[in-house]
Structure formats: C-alpha cells, structure tokens
C-alpha cells in the first residue's frame, strides 16, 4: 500500500470506472430521451475540460485561468474550416486538434516567460485578446456571432435525434480518450518527470528534468483537446459567438470549481467535481447570483479545509473504516 492516492490508486480506480462507464454509457441512447442525452453530452464536455485543466494545474502545477481561449478558438476554427474553407465537417473537426496544438505553442512561449501569478493573469489577458479578435474577424458575425449552416450540422445526423445521439457518442469518446491519454502520460517517462517537477522543481532540474519542456507538452496536449471540445461545443450550440464560445465563466471559472471541489491531481477529482457541479447547477440556478456565491464559498472552504478535495475525503473515510474494521477483528 504505497504511492496510494497519487499513483497506483488513481490508475486502478479510473481504469475500472472507465470500463464500467463505457459499458453503461455507450448503449444509453437506446433507452433515454433527447433531453437526457443533451444533458449528458454537456456533462461529458465540461468533464473533459475539467480533466484537461487538472492535467495542467493538478498534475503539472501550471495554473492557467485562460484555457477558455482554446475552447473558443477551436469553435471558431471549426466554423471557419467548414463554412469559409468548405472542408468536410468531420475533417474540420479533426483538424481542430492540430490547430489547438499549434496555437498553444506561441501562447506557451509567451506565458512561460512569466512567473506563477503572472502566468495565470497573462493567460487570462491573452484569452480576452482572443475573444476580442474573434469578435472582429470578418465572416464570423462580429460581436453577436453566427450560426452554423444547416448542411454542416446535418453531416452529423440527418434528423435531430440521430444528431443528438451522434454528438453524445462523440463527446463521450473524447472524454474516454482524454482520461486514457492522461493515464498514459502519467505512466510514461514524461509522467515521472512531471511528478518529480511537481514535488521538487530544483531537485528535478538537477536530475535532468527540463520543467519548461514538460509544461509545454502538457500545454500542447490540453490546448489540442480543448480546441476539439470547442468544436464539439459549437456543434452542440449550433453557433459561435465571442462571449459564449470564449466564456470565462463556463470554461474556466466553473471548471476550476469542479477540479478544486473534486480533488486536484487525481483523475477521479474532475469526475466527482463535474457531476456535483451539474447537480448543484440544476438545483440552485433558480437563486441567481446566490448560486455563484455558494459555489465560490464551497470552493474556498474546500481549499482551506481539504486541498485534496472530495477525492481525499473519501480516501480518508475509507482508510478510517478499514482501520476500525481491523481493530474490531483484533
């Protein structure tokens, strides 16, 4: 029993959960209505975004508050590739991956010159710039945005219900892929460098770890997939618009809440956090701004009380239960 919460625990559990959820989620569209599927699609998308934020901040110690830049840019790229360049919609969607990866390189080059706090603020400022540029781009509907052409949307399913099904499967596949990729990264050579860097950057450097190269890799992976998720989101919303596609609240603030509540640096964290978030949203959104205050207070409370989030609280509770059992047996 070692390396528990951080390593072995976080690989066995998600693999089992991953297998089980694939078995449940894949055939689900045959049993539930469109509304439920849309709801779950939404959950898968934010869960993936949360996984990617956790990959950066939780696993890599790279705190960005501007990752919504990539979600928005991916959405706009998808729109531009399909509508303006007339590319095949599937190809366009796939191309948002390398697009996001390429875009993240100059962004990282700029941000990596800044120290921790400035990195965060710089990432946010850059995201704002992206949004302003998106609102000025000719052919993208300016500040109010623009809808996808029906034939592009129809490529993903002729009828509404087949489309809802397909986007559901697509977003679930992306979520599984993202989780799988993170597990793979964490168990690669780079994963070791990453964990070493997070534990002790100076010692890691003296042992041959180049922190910037590790962080750049994380940034590129997350930028690529956020961009793809932005494309899926565009398909789900049927339109791009600066404030929605580049929403700081949806793609960064809420996401940070999910990761912090669920547990940073663990695969299971963003899963718990995202589920909790959509449940809270459903039950509290009627209260308006109070809902945001409750979320904020919960996140701050969690950071003060248990920075490891619910994942660690559950772990602790299990350990305690196991210990009492041992005592009773003895």
């Amino acid at each position: 029993m070692t390396g528990d919460i951080m390593t072995s625990g976080s690989q066995k559990l998600p693999l089992a959960v991953l297998g089980l959820s694939v078995a449940v989620m894949v055939p689900l569209p045959f049993f539930v209505d469109n509304g439920t599927m849309r709801y779950l699609t939404d959950l898968f998308i934010i869960m993936s975004v949360a996984q990617l934020w956790n990959l950066l901040a939780g696993f890599g110690g790279v705190v960005s508050i501007g990752q919504h830049a990539f979600v928005g840019a991916g959405g706009y790229a998808f729109f531009g590739l399909t509508t303006h360049l007339g590319l095949n919609p599937f190809l366009s969607m796939a191309l948002t991956l390398p697009f996001g990866a390429l875009l993240s390189l100059p962004v990282f080059a700029i941000l990596s010159r800044m120290r921790v706090a400035y990195f965060a603020i710089g990432s946010w400022v850059l995201a704002e710039v992206f949004m302003l540029v998106a609102g000025k781009l000719p052919g993208f509907g300016g500040g109010s945005g623009i809808s996808l052409r029906p034939q592009i949307v129809k490529a993903f399913g002729a009828s509404t219900s087949s489309r809802v099904e397909n986007i559901y499967w697509l977003s679930f596949a992306i979520l599984v892929l993202v989780i799988f990729l993170i597990i793979l990264v964490m168990h690669s050579r780079r994963g070791y460098s990453l964990r070493a860097m997070r534990d002790n950057e100076t010692a890691a450097m003296a042992l041959g770890v180049n922190p910037n190269a590790v962080k750049a890799m994380l940034f590129v992976v997350s930028g690529a997939f956020l961009s793809l998720l932005g494309a899926v989101n565009t398909l789900q919303k049927l339109r791009v618009n600066p404030s929605g596609s580049f929403s700081l609240t949806d793609w960064t603030v809420f996401i940070i809440f999910m990761v912090v509540i669920g547990g940073m640096g663990r695969i299971i964290g963003p899963i718990i956090g995202a589920v909790l978030f959509v449940l809270l949203r459903e039950n509290l959104s009627g209260y308006g701004p109070i809902y945001m205050i409750i979320l904020g207070a919960a996140a701050i409370g969690m950071m003060l009380f248990e920075p490891g989030g619910i994942a660690v609280l559950v772990q602790r509770w299990k350990l305690k239960k196991a210990k009492t059992q041992e005592l009773e047996e003895a």
């Binding site: 070791y192 964990r195 070493a196 010692a203």
Partner: protein, 242 residues
Amino acid sequence: MKPLLELRGVSKAFGGIEVFNDVSLTLEPGARLGILGPNGAGKSTMFNLISGLHRPTGGEMLYEGHNLGQMKPWNACRRGIGRTFQIPQPFGDMTVAENVIVGCTSGAGLSLHEARDRAHDILEMTGLGDHRDKLAKSLALLDLKRLELAKAAAMKPKLLLLDEIAGGLTEAECDTLLDILQKVVRRDTAVIWIEHVVHALTRFVDEVAVLADKQIVVRGQIDEVLENAEVRRLYFGAEAEV
C-alpha cells in the same frame, strides 16, 4: 590528460554579498577530490554553480570543453554531472524507487524498463531495497541521504558531486556509507566530496582542497593539507573532527 572540469577565477555574489571571488580548480576524469572549508565558505554554492542551478558572477567554468557557466541544470545533468543536496531533496510523493527512476530516465536517458532495472540494482546496493515502495517523504534522515546518493549515482555520472553525505553519521554508519560508495561509484567517475567528517574523506579521496577566504587556499595530499599551518588556523581552530 584533458581535464574533465576546469574552474578559472570563478566568483559568486548574492546581491551585494560576495561568497567567493577567485576559485580555480581542475579535475581529471576519474579523480577524487575532497573539499574542506568552514561553514559558509561557499562550498555548496560551488556545487550549485557546477550543476547549473546558479550562475557565476565572473570567471570561467568548463566541463569537457563546454561552457558550464551558461548551461541549464538539466543539460549539465544529461552531460553527466550528478549531485546530492546537503539538505536532502526527495520527491516526497513518489516512491523511493520512482525517485531513482527519474534520474535514470530524465538524466541518463534510459527507457522506463531499463530504468526500473537500474533503480532496483542501485537500491539494493545502497541498502534501500526494503524501502523501495515507500513514499520518499516517509523516510528517516539517514535513508534520505542514501536516497540522495542513489538518485545521483543511478544516472552513472562522469562527475559526481557529494555534499556532506556523512554528516551526523555514527562511526558504524560511516563505515557502511564508505562500503556503499565503493559499490555505487564506478572507478571512472570523478568525484568531488564536500565533507566536514575528515576521517571519512581520507578513506575515499586522493586529494583534498580547502575553500576559505573566498578562494581555494590549498590543495594536495590529505596529510600535507592537514599539516598546513594556514589550514589549521582557518579551519580546524573551529571544528576538527579528525
């Protein structure tokens, strides 16, 4: 023979405070040099310069002919400079074996598979075999020091920098440490060992140098250096453990 490491008139200041201003030193491949010097003389700082963690304020530092003064720490490591830290710097949330694997993969460029094998061997040699699956943060100080050595030795460095690895050890523990050193340090590895525990040094190094008064004041065979009146005044007035 071409020197492995060459420092020429190296100086280092933090802000306005000068630690040393004229350190010159050459080291042949495979040579073993001990460094003595009073507390605060700048011995650890010298290691920080050689391993690329700090930049010298002046002078020249060459390693295999490359300019060390501009080299990033990870590149210095990949070119074969391994070091331990005076205050152990474990990767606390990784297991003992994983700590060593980092050096083997990032530092020595081994595949994960090869790295696991080498980590296994080194941990056996350093007496950490039983702790391999423990989190590094749970180790006691003595084991943490061994882990420092294991991490640095696992990458098979050409130059190994040891910073007070024998400090605070009992006589018996010191003997064990020397046995371990003989096992893990290959004969062709050059070593610079900073140590206050002179009797440990004498059993391992060929020569010693004394860093004091902002420079290397004397270098030579260990008995000669210990006889040196200047050294006695500078250093052993304070804290001899001979």
